[in-house]
């Protein structure tokens, strides 16, 4: 059995039938634009503020792009029972779940570079540490996608996937230090911040764009990678428990 043929074709099919559809592509452009405009309007400042809000917009573009897309597509296939065909294929479950998540990860990474590209037209990004950006974007995309997988395994209906995604996403946005420093949060909320993968991704992004990281980059990246592994293993266990009953 040539596993790579199955994995590659699952990724190709998902890209074609879900992720590269015009509504998704336009979402990838409109979403960062909307967030950027919102922060400009709120702050009332000029282009100089772009660097300050760039890490936030990048992280949100990935988070919202990956979680909802994966949760919705998997729930859609579960509902139509076509997902059963994937489970019946002689493919290790780990490979199957990686194939199903790969499309969302690719789209998450692509979404992240839309605001970066837009920002490059208005401000000088020459001091940005690109390898750190690339590592953070990749790991945020992976962890957010696995969060989407966790959500997909927990719900039955497509609308549930959407609402359940928001249950995680909105608190994450405000608790991860992207827009408000964690030090400014009430003391009882801070432990929650440190339990979120996005907190560590946001810190790397802040550090690489503005030089304002709170923790060493290597520690952030290791913790973020740890979250990816844990979320993937939890999702795999849930898939075995709930979908192979």
């Amino acid at each position: 059995m040539k596993t790579w043929i199955a994995v590659w074709n699952i990724l190709k099919k998902d890209m074609r039938t879900y992720y590269l559809k015009p509504p998704n592509l336009s979402w990838g452009i409109i979403f960062p634009l909307a967030w950027t405009s919102m922060f400009f309007i709120k702050s009332g400042s000029g282009f100089g503020d772009i660097r300050a809000i760039l890490p936030g917009v990048v992280a949100l573009s990935i988070l919202f792009g990956t979680t909802s897309m994966l949760a919705v597509t998997v729930t859609f296939e579960k509902k139509g029972r076509s997902f059963e065909r994937l489970l019946l294929a002689p493919l290790p479950l780990e490979a199957l779940m990686l194939a199903k998540t790969a499309g969302a990860i690719v789209m998450g990474v692509a979404n992240a570079f839309v605001p970066m590209l837009m920002a490059a037209f208005f401000v000088d990004l020459s001091s940005v540490i690109w390898w750190q950006i690339a590592a953070a974007v990749a790991l945020i995309a992976v962890s957010s996608t696995f969060l989407g997988l966790f959500i997909a395994v927990s719900v039955r209906e497509v609308f549930e996937a959407q609402t359940f995604s928001n249950f995680f996403r909105f608190p994450m946005v405000f608790l991860c230090g992207l827009f408000f420093p964690i030090a400014n949060l009430p003391v009882f909320l801070r432990p929650l911040s440190y339990a979120l993968p996005l907190t560590y991704g946001a810190d790397v992004l802040h550090g690489s764009v503005n030089g304002t990281a709170q923790r060493p980059v290597s520690l952030n990246l290791v913790l973020l990678a740890g979250f990816c592994v844990v979320l993937f293993l939890i999702s795999l266990r849930n898939v075995r428990k709930k979908w192979i009953t």
Binding site: K2, A6, E77, L87, L88, P90, I244
Partner: protein
């Protein structure tokens, strides 16, 4: 212990099941069943709705985890690792579950890729299968736009794209048009003639009678009989079955009928008809008089050749007509049984 008849081939069982059991909470879906399916055999797995047929197929194919028991597919122990023999199996579930946004050809190629087939070989096989199932002209139409019968035919093609040694078919012809059902039966029979082992569940008893060499009956999760078709039908050859066409629904007369004729089994069938089964001489004149006294005209009386249907009714105690209606209604409602 159910009565059994040996599978056709003794060389190596295509499917071997020992003490297979599965519970869903308080419900015992499958209660420790044992059977074997020989290599190249056409095996029917029959039972009333909710008897445990689909749960058994799900356990055999790796979609459900058994609580107990041993499953061997072509000698490979799949009890703990259901993935171990999935490359040998083709599965046609009770619902046509391909990808609606892909066309017929793409769906088949994608299913071939899931089994690791190289691009050229899966495309060649997809073209052949589209011809076989009569969908060559619809190859480039989206699956979502197919009729029910077309969807079913393509789902069967998807199940055999990788040339499986064993094909599991769960209700392959339920709820589709007659022409498609005939086409599907022909394709399945040809596959079996070519050496593929077939494991079929169906509630169309005549379909099982026409296709299967051996049949297992499952009732409330227990195998009550596994035997060859010839042996099963031999048992009911002495039975007398008469179908009476009545002017009205016989349901309300069933009680008095059973009281008056205790040695006869009565089963309402489609329309206003009633079937009477007995192992003894059937007292036709008193039966007709019974209806006449209640103002019901017996417009027709036909002697029915004893068939697998009688075997099913005797073994499971379930009226087939009712079961069929329930199943078709469940399909229309989108339910799973």
């Amino acid at each position: 212990m159910p009565s059994t008849s040996e599978p056709r081939s003794h060389a190596e069982a295509a499917v071997e099941v020992r003490g297979l059991a599965k519970r869903f909470g308080e419900v015992e879906a499958v209660a420790g069943i044992d059977f074997e399916v020989g290599e190249g055999e056409f095996f029917g797995f029959l039972g009333p709705n909710g008897a445990g047929k689909t749960t058994t197929i799900n356990m055999l194919t790796g979609l459900a985890r058994p609580d107990q028991g041993v499953i061997r597919i072509a000698g490979i122990d799949c009890s703990r690792n259901p993935k171990a023999a999935q490359h040998l199996m083709g599965v046609v579930p009770d619902e046509s579950n391909l990808w609606p946004e892909l066309d017929g050809f793409e769906n088949l190629c994608f299913c071939g890729a899931l089994y690791g087939m190289a691009r050229r070989s899966r495309e060649k096989r997809a073209r052949e299968l589209l011809e076989t199932v009569g969908l060559a002209d619809a190859a480039r139409r989206r699956f979502g736009g197919y009729s029910k019968g077309m969807k079913r035919r393509l789902t069967i093609a998807a199940g055999i794209i990788h040339l499986p040694r064993i094909l599991f078919l769960d209700e392959p012809t339920t709820g589709i048009d007659v022409a498609s059902a005939r086409h599907i039966r022909r394709v399945i029979a040809d596959l079996n003639a070519g050496g593929t082992t077939i494991f079929l569940t169906t509630h169309y008893i005549e379909e099982a009678e026409r296709l299967c060499g051996r049949i297992a009956f499952i009732v409330e999760g227990r195998l009550v009989r596994v035997d060859s078709l010839a042996n099963l039908v031999r048992d009911v050859q002495d039975r007398r079955v008469v179908q009476l066409a009545l002017g009205r629904d016989p349901a309300e007369m069933l009680g008095p009928l059973r009281q008056t004729f205790p040695g006869i089994e009565f089963e309402p069938v489609t329309g206003d008809a009633l079937r009477a089964h007995t192992a003894h001489t059937l007292p036709l004149a008193p039966l007709i008089r019974f209806f006449e006294e209640r103002g019901v005209d017996v417009t027709e009386a036909n002697v029915i050749r004893p068939s697998l249907e009688e075997v099913f009714v005797c073994i499971t105690g379930v009226a087939l007509d009712r079961m069929r209606k329930e199943k078709e209604q469940s399909k229309r409602d989108g339910g799973v049984t």
